[in-house]
Each structure stands twice: as structure tokens, then as C-alpha cells.
Symmetry: C3
Subunit: 421 residues, 3 copies
């Protein structure tokens, strides 16, 4: 993006990171520059805990999925003991991808090239026609740190992962536990490749300033007062605000009755494993992300005995967001594919005993977020195509975009630490 | 294109520009190198006046079109007073493209992301949910210099545009005025993306050495003696030369009778806003670019009372060429999309009262240049694929390629000035 | 692939080349880095003899084919005297590709842009409308070194080609001669673009460690003991080994009887024009690459009087491999198109008098290698996608991959010489 022939040389990565102005969007190179993309992989995606899947995606021993984190091909597998493990999907012989399917089920891991055969824990079991001095123990698949929290699988590519993840796990688990994700199944999964930088995808996810005009379907269940400070709610929205207050009171009492936490924890900057969690009411029937707010699945998650539980929303930096409802859960993650290409994967989970056609209709279950994803994809592409203009200057965030600001602050903090290390 | 590992290092941009040999084509890096492409954007496309559209493309207040000049998304709009304005199509909030359609009609300019709303002159009228100290006057859309000459819209991205454009305007206007482009409408528009550097597109446009073999349809109305010095016309072409002399005499007397200038002005190098204009006769019926040379539209442009007016041809550096005939006009521009990709937009204009099917047939009107464009696209791709060879050495221009040489000289002069500034 | 922002800077090309460990695969940058790709073009493809076609592809005077070697467009033509010549396919005027078709037949070489006309030896015969002092003798097409060995056309882009090619020619010709390629015709040709670096394509070709699992069709005629040291053949393969010994004895006596050499010459490293040639028996009927090993063409090559001649296999560094059988020949070459894209062209040749439908069935003739090529393409893409992982470390070659090791050694030797020159 920088004009090499220009009289002002392109700023260094260090300079770009140091001069970011809080309260404002990032400068253009952060969204399109090749060097920044490499920085993002090194400073963010290979050093932080990343959500990559839920356990429902690999329910049985031998089930696996593969995913590329930047240039790293990764394999997530449930081993023979039922534990979830992550391995580098790179054969120790000549570097071939061991498994090439996006998901499947296998006994051992047999590389498709020369049939080197590994156990599900990575140990090399067999390599054909080797010399006598060949030592199998030197050629195990390299391992990746892996943690499961309430059915959500997180991996970390760093040798020494951020230790504050224990705190995240212990504080979010009480919120997640009632939804019992380990007893869910995948009802639908949608991959969208968006022609935009991953940070624009995340920034878009971290605010609802664009929702009223941009997401008509989602707004059936998001209160229209969302994002307003209480003392700035316009008169036209006072009826909605009254509905909100009632719904919030109902939610609090339902949670209190069941010993379920609902309070906001917001630590989305200032720590490596930054996150936000809160249970909030939904508008309309208040049960689920549908056009009228009523539940999309008759069989509720876990042992829940009430449908009107609003949405438990979890954000985790750098790349994921989640909604847990009484009747289903939706997991979302963004994986950078290039400076201007990002994979967004959305997965809908329902109770493992729910039967499609009887308990839920997949089209109805997925309609709102499917449409919302399409709308978001258009918005971030529009943003991507504008920020590359040399006249673009980062503008000010509105008060209801404070979480976007926090995301940028977190990102800048973490890259700064990396560049200084 | 340069081999980094080669023992001879790639020449610097300065060296490449300085060592160009007049009378010869440019060296290979000028046609494929990323750094040269950035140089072209900086030295040429952001510093010179560029034709971008005719007023007929945005006839009513609120009508707009969007176009990208290199990395700059631009918006050209007719404001409420009927004036044409150009703005950077980049929202002052988070850099999103404000309008995403290629053309349309609108009241205010509402950014599709968070609904920031601008007036047609760029002033920010409204931004929702802002803090009390938010100052709208600080966030107007950035403006772009814009001039209309005889219905042709030129923009300049520089802070301080070349001042010699006034001279171009005053000297070309007498030629253009009789065609009254402000009373035309778009009969057809064709966008072609050519897989070649924009300079190869322009060089191809600046000579007719390739026409006899390359453009059989165009040659029905171009005299076959085109490009020959008078004393070198081969005997086989003497009958054509006699036709030419008669047509030229007829044209001169028709113009003189009507007070219309026809003389060549050729200043295609040696100044920033370099141009060439001349009215010349056409072969065949001598009226228009059709297969037999007869008019393609029964309703003539402006108040013209004669069909046999030949072609008024205007070239403007760096990126446009035009033909004005009695019955229609054709505007053409080349916009670089990448080192090896160029958009060529051709627009056919007819009198605003002409009715398709009655006064003109769009297929007949566009046939010759549509076919000529296709042929040119093939030729420049063939050139692009050859000049990248490391053995390519710029060869000598033939005498009838002198305008190509002038184009290269102009380009080298302007980049040299930029690099020295 | 290298992370610019990483704390460890990317190694230089020199360092990468110097630190290669014999017996192990190459490091990741060799397979995806842009600078290494440029190095490969400079050090390997513009300095060595390259197989580009067989004479059967241009049987008559005026027949030509065009091929791009990296950034070099090349033209291979049979001139009016029946000799094969190679020229740079770049017009001396403005660098246009002279001929744009992939193959054809022509009298003179007429550039499609401005009709500059060259003889088949490259001399400029005509350029229209030139000034009086234009000297045609200065603008001949540039020539490329060209050699024909037993019907195989090799070119070299270097000014001073490796002189050891004479030795290759004189030692391989006795093996090739009986197949009389100059009396063959093309029965089929297949171009496959593989999304992998050219070296992964070649490495894959230089071992059969992957054959048993990867190429079931090919294994009908390759002995399953292929690649085993004699004293390590497993008991289950002893019957196959007995078949092999018998077939080898039969082959040797057939060759001896006819004065045909069959012994291995293996000089695949340690010299610029490195090669390997050997005649070996085939399993099954032992005649040809078909599913049962029986001949695919009733008309044998040259004046051969025996069908069971096994396969004469020739490897030539950097980019070709060949199989000559009694009934047909298969030529294969790999041409780099980019760091991660390679063209593989496979050509099947049969006796010039063989008639399709009577003497051979093209589907049957090509089935085994067509399927084998598809399988290889999948394998090298799988390798390409894995070696780019930052955790990839070159692993050890198995004993039966020694020819891959030799290929890498040859490659490293030649690039090292280039970088030191």
C-alpha cells in the first residue's frame, strides 16, 4: 500500500504501533500491508490462545479436524482416551501435510505420501524401508498446546502460552456449564471467506453501531436501545427501554433462582487472554435468535428447564465470539487467510438428542445469523476497500464503539510487547 | 521481474528514468515492476488532470459515479445546483467506502456502514450517537479538484494541480463547443479489463502503425495513407491519397464556412497537461465510424447542419482519447488497476433527443470501436507477455510512431520531475 | 514465507544454500520463496540444458512450438532445411511476443503487432515504413542454443552452455537409437498444472517410495521389490523377486543378442548435465506401461523385432524424465510457472505409421501414466501445503530415496556455483 517512490518513506512497524491514537481506528497499513500481516501471525496468532472448534465437532475417539492458522497446518483430534489433542499436521519425513481432509475419523495418523504412521498422540509408530540406525522416537509429530473449557477447544502455538488463561477458564466456566456443550451436536456449520483483513472482521463484531441499519433480522431480538447510554436514549425508544428493563429483571430472577451467573465481566484489554462475558435479555419472545425470538429447538441444552434465558455472550481476543441460548449455541471464529482475506466459521450446536425435523428446523435455526453474516461480510469488504485510500485518516470512535477501541488497544499492546521482546 | 539473486542488481527507479533513450520504447521494468507502478500512481495519476467521465453520465442533480484511481476511491457527483464535484469516497469515521455502487442517484451521501450522512459538497450533516464534544465540521469528505471542459469532466488529486490546464481548456473549447456535449446522453458504455500495463494501452492508442493489419473494420474510414509522410506514399496508395486530399479540402471549406477550427495543435510532450487536437477527414462516406462511413445517428449533435465533418480527435496525457463526429462522440480512458491490468472505458454519446431504434441503432453505432477495442486488447496483451523477457531490448520507433515516442518522453519528463522533487 | 517482523531475520540465499544437510530434504524457503524462485530461474533454468520437446512435435519445415521458460518466451521451429532451431519469441521492435499460439506451422515469422517479418533463422526480412537509415541486420531475433539427441530437443539459454552435454549425448545415444524417435508421431499430449514448486515435482519423480500406496496402476508393471536392497527384500516379496531375476536375465540376453546397451549409467549429481540411464525389465507381460504389461501399440518403434524390452528410463537434471518401450515412448518435463506452480507436460509417441484404432487405442496407451500423473499431482500439492509450515524441519531420506537426495545435492551444487560466480 505504501508508495515506495513517495518522498515520505513508509513508517516502520514499530513506528506504526507506537503512534496509534487511542479512541481512533487503526492506520491503513494495519489492514492491508504484507509485513503487518506477518506481524499479526507472529505477535498475535502464534502467541495467544485461539478458539478453533467445539468438542461437538469431534465427538468420538479418532475424530479429527484440520485447520490452518496462517502458515501453520494444525490437526485437532480426539485420542483413544477421549482427550482432545492438537498436533502440527506436518510429516516429519519430507514435510507433507499428514491428513488432507478438513475433518474425518481415523485410527492412526497415516501420512498420505509415504505412509509414515503416527499414533493420535503424535508418536511415530512406523516408517517403511528405513536404514538400521533410524530412530523413530526422534520423529514424533510436533505438539500444540490445547485446552478445553466448557466444550470449547482452544489451542496455542507458543512454546510458553499465556498463563492467564487459567483465570479465564475458571471464571467463564460457571457461565458456560449449564449449557453442557459436551452433550451437543453440530446442527449446521457455515464457512464464509470475507475479502477483508481479520481485524476489520473483529472490529465489526465488537460493535452494534451498524446493527440498526445493517442487520434488520438481528434487530428483532436485539433491543433497539443496545449501545445507548441510559441517559441518552431518545424518546422514540422509551417503550423499548421499558421492555428491556422488564426483560432484564425477569432474566436476573430466573438466573438467581437457578444459581446461574449473569453479571458482566469485561476484561477485553490489559491482559493477553482478554475476554468479555455477560448474560443479557433478548427482545421479542426473548428465547432465541429467530425472527420472533421464540426458541428454534424444542429440546433445550443441558438440563435447562426454562427457554427464556436471553443470550450468554462471550468474546475472546483475538478471534472468537459465542452466543449461548437455552435452545442452542453459536460459535464463531475468524482465521486470517491473507492480508485481505479472512475465514469466518459459524457453527450451530443443539442438544445431542435433538432430531432435525422433529425438534428443530435447520433453516429456522440458522436464518438470523446466516443473514447477519452475509450483511457483515458486505460491510467489512466496504470498509476494506476504503481504508486503503491514501487519504484515509483514522476517525473517532463513537461511545458505543468502545469495545472496538478496546480491541485495537489490546492488539496494539500485544504487538508492542512482541516488537519490544 | 528483476532477479534479486542476479549478479547485476536491479537498477533504481532514478537510473531507469534517467537512462531512457529517446526514439525507443521503454525498458521492461516500466511495464511490470511493482515499484514503477507505485511511481506511476504517485508521479502521474495523483499529480495530473485526468479525464474520468462526461457530464452526460451524471445529467441530474444527485447523479453520481464512483471510480478508483489506483488506491484512491473517488466519487463524482452533480450537486443540487447542477455543478459537478469530486470527493474522496472514504468515510471520515472508519474509512469505509461511502457509496459502493458504480453509479446511481442520491440526495445526501449516506455511508452504508454507520450511516454517517454527508451533503453533496462533502459537509458532514449527521453522525449518530456521538459524544457531546463531537465536532461535525472536522469530518467533511475530502475534496478533489474538478473541471468541466466542453462536457468533459477532469479531476486532479494533487493539492496543487498543474496550472497549464487553463490553457488546454481555452484552446480546445472552440473545437469541442459545436458538438454540445452538455446536450448529449449515453448511448452505450463498455468496460474492458486488459491484462497489460496502462502505458502499453496508451502507446497502442498513440499510433496506427498496427492499424492496417490489426483493425480491418476501422480501416474502412481511416485513410490507408494515415501515418505516411507525403513523399513516401507508395504508388499503390496514390488513389487513396487523391481521395484524402479531396476530403481534406471539403472538410476545410465546411469548417471555414461555419467558423469551426480544424487545425492541428500538437503539444503532447513538454508540458504537464499535454494534449493534441485536430479535425481530420474520414474515408468512405466521411461521416462517422461505421463500416461504410455513413452517419450512425440521424439526429446530429448540437446544432450541426452537416454530417460530413470527419473526426475531431483529442488526446490528453496521461490517459484519455476522444473522437467527436457530427452524429456522435466517443470518449475513452485508461485507468491502471495493477502493474499488468488496466481498465479501458469507452462511452458513446448521442444527442439527448435521439431515440434508439428510430434515430440510431446501438449495435451499428458501437460496432467499429467495439471490435477495434477487442483487437487492441489482444495486441497489448501480446506486447505485455513479450516485454517481460529478460532478453527484451527497447527497439526503435518507426517515423509514424512519433506520438508513442512523445508519450514516452512526456512520461519520462514527468516522472523525472517527480523523482527530483 | 519468512516473517519479516520476526526477531530472527530470514536467512540469505547464500546461507540457505550453504547450510543444506546432505541426506535430508531442503528447507522451506526452497519451495515457496520468491527470491529462491528467481534464483532457480537464474542459476538453473537459464544456465543448463533443458529438454523442451521431441522432434516428432515439429515434423515438417515451418512447424513450430512456443514455450515459456520462466520469464523467457521461446520459439522452437524446424527451419526450411529441416533443422531444429530455437529463438527468443520477442520482437526486436517493441518487445511483443512474435508468435502467440502454442504451436503451428508458418513460412516466415510475422509478428502479430506491426508485422515485422523474420526468417526461420531469426533474420529480420521486413519492417514496414522505416526511416532510410534503418538497418535490418541489427534486429534479428535473438537465438537460443539448441541440440537434438536421438529425437529429443534440448535448449540452453546461457551464452556459454555447459560443455559436458556432448558427453551426455554420445553416451545416451546408443541407448536411444534403436527406438528411432525421428520416425515417431505424437499420439497424445497432456499438460497438467500442479500447485507446487518445480523441485517438489522433480523430487517426487526421483523416488518410488510412494509408489506402492500411491500408484496402484503403475505397480502392475513396476516390480514390487523396486527400491529394496537385495538383502532386505521381505519374505512376502520373494516370489516377485524371483520373477524379477528371470525378467532381468531375459532382458539382458535380448539386448546382448541385438547389441543394445542396458547397463545403468548414473551420474545424477557432480556435473552440470547430470543424468541417469538404464534399461530395466517390467513386471507382468513385461512389454509396456499398461494394466497387464502387454504392448499398447502393435507397430513397434524403429525396426525393433521384439516387444518384451522392458523400459529404457532416462532422467536428465533439472527437469525431465523419459521412458522408451518397444511399442511407444513417453517424454515428461517440468517447467516452473511460479514459486508454487509448475507445468508438467507428458507426451506419448508411437511409430509414425501406426494408425489409431487399428494399431493402438489412445485411451489404453495413456491410461497408466495419465492416472499416475493425477496421483502425483495430488501428492506434490499435499507436500507443498505442508512444507510451508514454520515448524517444518527437513527429515531424513530413506535409502530408496537416494536419487531425491542426489537431485537436491545437484541443485545445491549448481546454485552454490552460481552464487559464488
Amino acid at each position: 500500500m505504501t508508495t515506495i517512490a513517495d518522498t515520505t518513506p513508509a513508517p516502520s512497524l514499530e513506528r506504526l504501533v507506537e503512534r496509534r491514537i487511542p479512541g481512533r481506528a487503526l492506520e491503513a497499513p494495519f489492514y492491508a500491508d504484507d509485513d503487518v500481516f506477518d506481524l499479526d501471525i507472529s505477535a498475535i496468532f502464534t502467541r495467544h490462545w485461539l478458539f478453533v472448534a467445539s468438542t461437538a465437532e469431534i465427538p468420538e475417539p479418532g475424530d479429527y479436524l484440520t485447520i490452518d492458522i496462517g502458515p501453520y497446518p494444525i490437526l485437532v483430534i480426539r485420542d483413544d482416551d477421549g482427550d482432545v489433542r492438537a498436533l502440527h499436521n506436518v510429516c516429519r519425513h519430507r514435510g507433507s501435510r499428514v491428513l488432507s481432509e478438513s475433518s474425518g475419523s481415523t485410527g492412526n495418523l497415516v501420512c498420505g505420501y509415504h505412509q509414515w504412521t503416527y499414533a493420535t498422540d503424535g508418536r511415530l509408530l512406523h516408517a517403511g524401508q528405513q536404514a538400521a540406525d533410524f530412530d523413530k522416537t526422534c520423529y514424533a509429530l510436533k505438539t500444540v498446546h490445547c485446552r478445553v473449557v466448557g466444550g470449547l477447544i482452544f489451542i496455542c502455538l507458543a512454546a510458553d502460552p499465556p498463563s492467564d488463561f487459567d483465570d479465564v477458564a475458571s471464571r467463564t466456566l460457571p457461565y458456560l456449564a449449564p449449557h453442557q456443550l459436551h452433550r451437543t451436536k453440530v446442527a449446521a456449520q457455515l464457512d464464509t471467506v470475507e475479502d477483508a483483513n481479520w481485524k476489520l472482521v473483529m472490529e465489526n463484531n465488537r460493535e452494534c453501531y451498524h446493527c440498526e441499519a445493517g442487520h434488520p433480522e438481528l434487530m428483532y431480538t436485539f433491543f433497539p436501545t443496545y449501545g445507548y447510554a441510559e441517559d441518552e436514549i431518545p424518546p422514540r425508544l422509551m417503550p423499548a427501554h421499558a421492555r428491556y428493563l422488564q426483560a432484564q429483571a425477569d432474566l436476573e430472577s430466573a438466573c438467581t433462582e437457578r444459581g446461574m451467573p449473569y453479571e458482566e465481566i469485561e476484561e477485553i484489554a490489559g491482559r493477553p487472554s482478554a475476554f468479555r462475558i455477560q448474560r443479557e435479555p433478548l427482545d421479542g419472545a426473548g428465547e432465541s435468535y429467530t425472527l420472533d425470538g421464540s426458541a428454534a429447538c424444542r429440546k433445550l441444552l443441558g438440563d435447562l428447564d426454562i427457554t427464556r434465558l436471553g443470550r450468554l455472550s462471550l468474546h475472546h481476543q483475538p478471534n472468537s465470539w459465542f452466543h449461548f441460548l437455552a435452545d442452542h449455541a453459536v460459535t464463531s471464529m475468524a482465521i486470517p487467510l491473507g492480508p485481505e482475506r479472512t475465514l469466518v466459521r459459524t457453527t450451530w450446536l443443539v442438544h445431542e438428542d435433538a432430531v432435525e425435523g422433529r425438534d428443530y428446523d435447520a433453516d429456522n435455526l440458522t436464518a438470523v445469523w446466516r443473514r447477519t453474516n452475509e450483511q457483515d461480510a458486505e460491510l467489512v469488504v466496504r470498509a476494506q476497500s476504503g481504508v486503503k485510500s491514501p487519504v484515509y485518516e483514522p476517525g473517532p470512535y463513537a461511545p458505543n464503539e468502545y469495545q472496538v477501541d478496546s480491541f485495537c488497544t489490546w492488539y496494539i499492546d500485544e504487538t508492542r510487547k512482541y516488537l519490544r521482546s
